[in-house]
C-alpha cells in the first residue's frame, strides 16, 4: 500500500515536471520564433510598455532554463520553485491586466493565442497549483529518502 502511494506520487511528480517542460519549451519557442511579434506585443502591453525590450529575451530564456533544470533530477525541486514563481508572475500579470489596465491587449503565442484572458487566468492558476503539488510531493519524498537513510544508519551507531 505504502509503496504503491510512493510510486503513484513519484509518477505524479514526473507528470507534473513533463507538463512544465512541454509548456515552457513550447511557450519559449513560439516567443522566439515570432520574436518581432512578441516584442511588439510586449511593447504595446498596457503595463509593460516601457520595459518590454529586455523582457523580450529574459522571459523565454527563463522558461528554457527552468525546463532544462526540470530534466535534471537533482535540480528538480529548485526548478519547481522557479516554475511556481514564474507562473505566479504570469498569473499576477493577467490579474493586473484584467483589473487595473485601461484596456486588455490581445497577445500570447501559439495555441495560447486562442485563449481568452479569463481562460488564461484559469489555465495559469492550474499550473500554479501543479507546481505547488510538485513541490510538496518532492520535498516530502526527499525528506522520506532522508528518513529511510537515517533508519538504516541508526542500527549502525548502536
Amino acid at each position: 500500500m505504502k509503496t504503491y502511494t510512493i510510486r503513484y506520487k513519484k509518477l505524479l511528480v514526473e507528470i507534473i515536471c513533463l507538463l512544465f517542460i512541454l509548456l515552457f519549451v513550447y511557450a519559449a519557442c513560439t516567443k522566439l520564433m515570432e520574436y518581432d511579434k512578441f516584442q511588439v506585443q510586449l511593447g504595446q502591453s498596457p503595463i509593460l510598455t516601457s520595459i518590454g525590450s529586455w523582457l523580450v529575451w529574459t522571459v523565454p530564456a527563463a522558461e528554457l532554463v527552468i525546463a532544462g533544470m526540470l530534466v535534471v533530477s537533482r535540480l528538480r525541486l529548485m526548478a519547481l520553485y522557479a516554475a511556481f514563481s514564474l507562473m505566479t508572475m504570469f498569473t499576477a500579470y493577467i490579474f493586473i491586466i484584467l483589473t487595473y489596465s485601461p484596456f486588455v491587449p490581445c497577445s500570447c503565442g501559439g495555441i495560447l493565442e486562442k485563449m481568452g484572458w479569463e481562460e488564461h487566468l484559469v489555465f495559469n492558476s492550474v499550473f500554479v497549483l501543479l507546481a505547488l503539488t510538485g513541490i510538496l510531493l518532492l520535498s516530502r519524498k526527499q525528506h522520506d529518502d532522508v528518513t529511510r537513510h537515517s533508519q538504516q544508519f541508526i542500527p549502525h551507531h548502536n
Binding site: 510598455t49 514563481s85 500579470y93 491587449p105
Partner: protein, 368 residues
C-alpha cells in the same frame, strides 16, 4: 525499546520542520513574484503616464472600418455634422455641398446659393456647418455669409471687416478667429461678434517661442458638447483649452517630447515678409474633437512602435478633455494605398478622407 521510537519521533519533527520551510519557501516565492510584477507595473505606468517618456498605449481594434465610398475628387473635407448626417465641402468648389448619412453613407448633392449670385469665391473659402446654420467664410477678402440648413441660401449676416486665416463659428453670430494682430504683427486668437467692438483679440492664449507667427501655428477646434475651444499647436507638444470667451482653462502636453518649436524663420524684403527657412518639424498634423475627447494626428513615432507600422499608417492620439490626460492611441491603415489626409470625429464615428475616398470607422473603446 527506545529504538523504534527515536526514528519515528525525529521523522515527525523533521517532517514538521521541512513542511514549515517548504511552506515558508512557497509563500515567499509567491509573494515575491507578485511584488515583482506589481513593481514592474507601477514603474511602467509611471513611465508612460507621468514623465511622458513617449510611449503609446495601443489597445487592440479601437477603430473598425464600416464602409467606404469614392468621392471622385481629393479636395473634400468635412464641414460639420447635424444629428446622423455630415456635410462635406470641397476646397475647389465651395458652393458644392454633399450631405452624407451615417452610417450608410448615402449621399445627397446640394448646390449652395448666395445673395450676390455673381460673386466669385476665393480658393480658400471655407464652409462650416453648425446647425441650424451653415457658414461661408473667407478671411482674405474678408467675407462672412450665413444660411439656414435646408434653405441653402447664404447671406451677409454680421460685421465682417476682420481679416483672419481661419475662423470657427461657435454661436449663431460669433466666431473664433486666428488672425494677425495689428499691434504686435503676431498671430493671435480672437472672437468676432456682431456686437461692438466686433473683434476682440486675446493675445495671451498663444505663447510665442520664436517668431510669433509660424511658431504658434496650429489647428483651432470647437467642442460643441463641452463648449470649449481647443487649439493644437502644429510644431510643439501642446494644446490649449479655453472657454467660449477665450479664457484659458488649461494648457496640456501631447505625449511626445518636442516642447520647443524646431523651425527656422527668415525674413525677406527688408523684414516685411517672414518665411519658413527650414522644413517645419511638425509634431501634430491635424486634430478633431467630439464628446469628451480630443483626437490628434501625430507625426512622431513612439518607442514602442514598429517603423513599418508608422510609415504606412496614420496614428491618432486620444486625449481626455475632462480628465485632462492622455487616454490612448490607435492607427488608421491606408485605404487603397492612400494615407489619411483629413479626418473628423462625431460621437462614435470617425470619418477619414483618404485622397478621393471617404472611409467611415466606428470607434470602440471604454471611454466614448
Amino acid at each position: 525499546m527506545m529504538l523504534p521510537g527515536i526514528p519515528n519521533n525525529s521523522s515527525l519533527t523533521i517532517t514538521n520542520f521541512t513542511m514549515k520551510t517548504t511552506v515558508l519557501k512557497i509563500s515567499s516565492c509567491f509573494i515575491l513574484s507578485i511584488l515583482v510584477v506589481a513593481g514592474l507595473f507601477a514603474w511602467s505606468r509611471q513611465k508612460t503616464r507621468k514623465d511622458n517618456g513617449f510611449y503609446r498605449l495601443l489597445p487592440p481594434h479601437p477603430a473598425i472600418k464600416l464602409k467606404a465610398m469614392d468621392l471622385e475628387y481629393n479636395s473634400y473635407y468635412v464641414t460639420g455634422t447635424d444629428k446622423e448626417v455630415v456635410y462635406l465641402s470641397n476646397y475647389t468648389a465651395p458652393l458644392h455641398l454633399v450631405k452624407v448619412s451615417l452610417p450608410d453613407l448615402d449621399t445627397t448633392q446640394i448646390q449652395l446659393r448666395v445673395d450676390t449670385p455673381d460673386m466669385r469665391f476665393r480658393k480658400n473659402t471655407e464652409v462650416a456647418v453648425r446647425p441650424p446654420y451653415f457658414y461661408l467664410m473667407d478671411g482674405v477678402t474678408p467675407m462672412l455669409k450665413r444660411g439656414k440648413l435646408g434653405e441653402w441660401t447664404a447671406r451677409d449676416f454680421m460685421y465682417n471687416e476682420a481679416y483672419f486665416s481661419t475662423a470657427v463659428p461657435f454661436g449663431s453670430a460669433s466666431l473664433f478667429i486666428d488672425a494677425l494682430s495689428n499691434k504686435t504683427k503676431e498671430r493671435s486668437l480672437g472672437i468676432e461678434t456682431d456686437t461692438e467692438s466686433h473683434v476682440r483679440l486675446v493675445p495671451e492664449v498663444l505663447e510665442k517661442q520664436l517668431d510669433g507667427i509660424f511658431c504658434t501655428n496650429g489647428k483651432m477646434l470647437y467642442n460643441r458638447e463641452l463648449h470649449q475651444m481647443v487649439y493644437v499647436y502644429y510644431y510643439r507638444n501642446q494644446y490649449i483649452v479655453t472657454d467660449t470667451t477665450l479664457a484659458v482653462q488649461y494648457r496640456a502636453h501631447t505625449i511626445d517630447t518636442i516642447s520647443r518649436v524646431r523651425i527656422k524663420t527668415g525674413t525677406i524684403n527688408d523684414g516685411k515678409t517672414k518665411k519658413l527657412a527650414s522644413p517645419p518639424y511638425v509634431v501634430n498634423n491635424n486634430g478633431a474633437t467630439s464628446g469628451n475627447f480630443l483626437y490628434v494626428q501625430s507625426n512622431l513615432m513612439a518607442k514602442n512602435e514598429k517603423p513599418e507600422d508608422f510609415e504606412h499608417k496614420t496614428v491618432i492620439d486620444v486625449y481626455d478633455l475632462v480628465r485632462q490626460s492622455y487616454a490612448f492611441s490607435f492607427y488608421l491603415p491606408p485605404y487603397r494605398e492612400q494615407r489619411v489626409s483629413r479626418f473628423y470625429v462625431t460621437g462614435e464615428y470617425l470619418l477619414a478622407i483618404h485622397g478621393q475616398h471617404l472611409v467611415l470607422y466606428r470607434l470602440y473603446n471604454e471611454f466614448t
